[in-house]
Assembly symmetry: C2
Homo-oligomer: 305 residues x 2
């Protein structure tokens, strides 16, 4: 009985790993294709290539596509929104890495864009990717005008002043400050949670989910965002620098507020388990049949990079 | 006869000055209202206020609104796109002023945003204004979905990698380089011309212009962009620092390619006159009855700030 369960768990593990790998390959090839078509002056074009070819887990577009596939078989509609989302995410990392912001030298084991090129190029590549995201959605031949508007509303709101940008601002200001768990979760809900939720909402909406289903899935995304962040903080304490592609301990070095610092390591892990449980409940409440979403909870909670 | 012409010219002058002033007041009040409603954390909100209250000529939204009014009497449809355009323009100035870019300390007689606040805040305010522009258009209650998509397409393209961002990149790289007049006009068509053209195209489209009218007006916008830039270069040589709100001679100091440097002062002025003539021809070809557009050619060509 126990053995059968272990075999089943291993089978599922293989399946989700393969699912993610296939999606990553698809997303990477599409991103490279789009960036290849960009009309950018010579050296700037190289910087866009660098930004995209540096790779990444592509978790946000995978999440949007997985949710969409819980409702619809065709992937036509979701492709451009998913790619636009990854462009927005990539821009945010490039700007966050700048010397005036988090001042990071390494990203995914490679020099950050401003180290490989220069600061001006990094600012412009970030601006360019953000702008291009909206150009891509608005010009997509696969979406109705109403659908484009929904996607642009969701992504601009989540990545905007009351979302990701506000969160990054609060995060910078919280360095060297004493904040409580409520403030910490507010920062992360804005900085990373909002865009993760938007990924799921857009996927559900484009797939044809009902409003109550979208609501449950939004709650699913809310907990997924928290899981993501607690695990991020845990990896900075217990992770492997090689797998992470960046040094560990940088949160401590920058005197950042983190879950382990605020709650202690054991309590932070407990919090993560609680959020994983909540995410499962929200998934079940949504009444969607997409087992990969359930498995993505584990992927988010147990990732090593 | 001559005297009557002068009187008529003065009357027109008073009318266009009043027209611009009224539009500026309207745009400023709407910008302040929108920024007042932004959900941004405390100090970041102050930075958005600062960015907007620093003022500006508001030439781009005025151009969009004037074109629109050549075709339609209601201003409902054009207001949000015009404000979004000004947010995009404002973001571009904030990022261009950054130390890694043009490294400017003064803008409109006041410290640039990164001098008044800090670089991180300036990067985030720029990102925020750009994102908010698309949020504003996509959420406008005054536009049909198809209209929103058209506006987003035009503005994202003009301000994007093949437009404003590419132009800024080329402009930075051209410092200390020898370039010819063709390369110089390419830079400026991308950096400032594209967004001026988009302003006019969007105004015409929303007002209900026919495709041939839009085409003529796009050509009108093309020359207006060139006039704007030649005058910008001339002001940096012959302008008044107090009126400009920034020191003159900064192009020379940065060893920038400009029209006066490339062609000489007299030839640059002649080029401006030729472009003003071309703009008038394009206006006449468009067959729109909006005399303010004609007068805006003079405003662009003879502005002192």
């Amino acid at each position: 009985m126990v053995q059968r369960k272990i075999i089943q768990w291993r089978k599922n593990q293989v399946k989700i790993d393969r699912f993610i790998l296939d999606k990553q390959k698809f997303i990477d090839s599409k991103l490279i294709e789009l960036v290849g078509d960009l009309q950018a002056p010579g050296h700037l074009k190289k910087a866009f290539d660098y930004a995209i070819k540096a790779g990444g887990k592509r978790l946000r577009p995978i999440l949007m596509m997985s949710t969409y596939e819980g409702f619809s078989n065709s992937i036509d509609k979701v492709t451009h929104p998913a790619l636009a989302l990854e462009f927005i995410h990539t821009y945010s990392l490039i700007h966050d890495d700048l010397p005036a912001m988090d001042d990071d030298d390494l990203r995914r084991g490679q020099p950050t864009l401003h180290r490989e090129f220069d600061e001006a190029t990094a600012i412009l590549v970030g601006d360019g990717l953000l702008t291009y995201a909206f150009q891509l959605i608005s010009s997509s031949p696969n979406l109705e005008a109403e659908e484009k508007i929904y996607v642009i509303q969701q992504l601009s709101q989540a990545s905007g002043i009351d979302g990701m940008i506000g969160g990054q601002y609060l995060d910078l200001k919280a360095e060297n400050e004493e904040i409580d768990e409520y403030e910490l979760s507010t920062i992360h809900n804005k900085k990373t949670g909002a865009l993760i939720q938007a990924a799921i909402k857009v996927g559900a909406y484009l797939g044809g989910a009902t409003p109550p289903q979208i609501e449950s899935l939004q709650s699913f995304g809310y907990y997924l965002g928290l899981i993501f962040q607690v695990q991020d903080d845990l990896l900075d304490v217990e992770g492997d620098a090689t797998q992470l592609g960046k040094p560990i301990g940088s949160d401590v070095a920058k005197n950042k507020s983190t879950y382990p610092k605020l709650l202690g390591l054991q309590e932070a892990k407990k919090r993560k388990s609680q959020y994983m449980e909540k995410a499962k409940e929200a998934y079940i409440a949504s009444n969607v049949d997409q087992p990969y979403l359930l498995q993505l909870i584990d992927v988010f909670g147990n990732r090593s990079n």
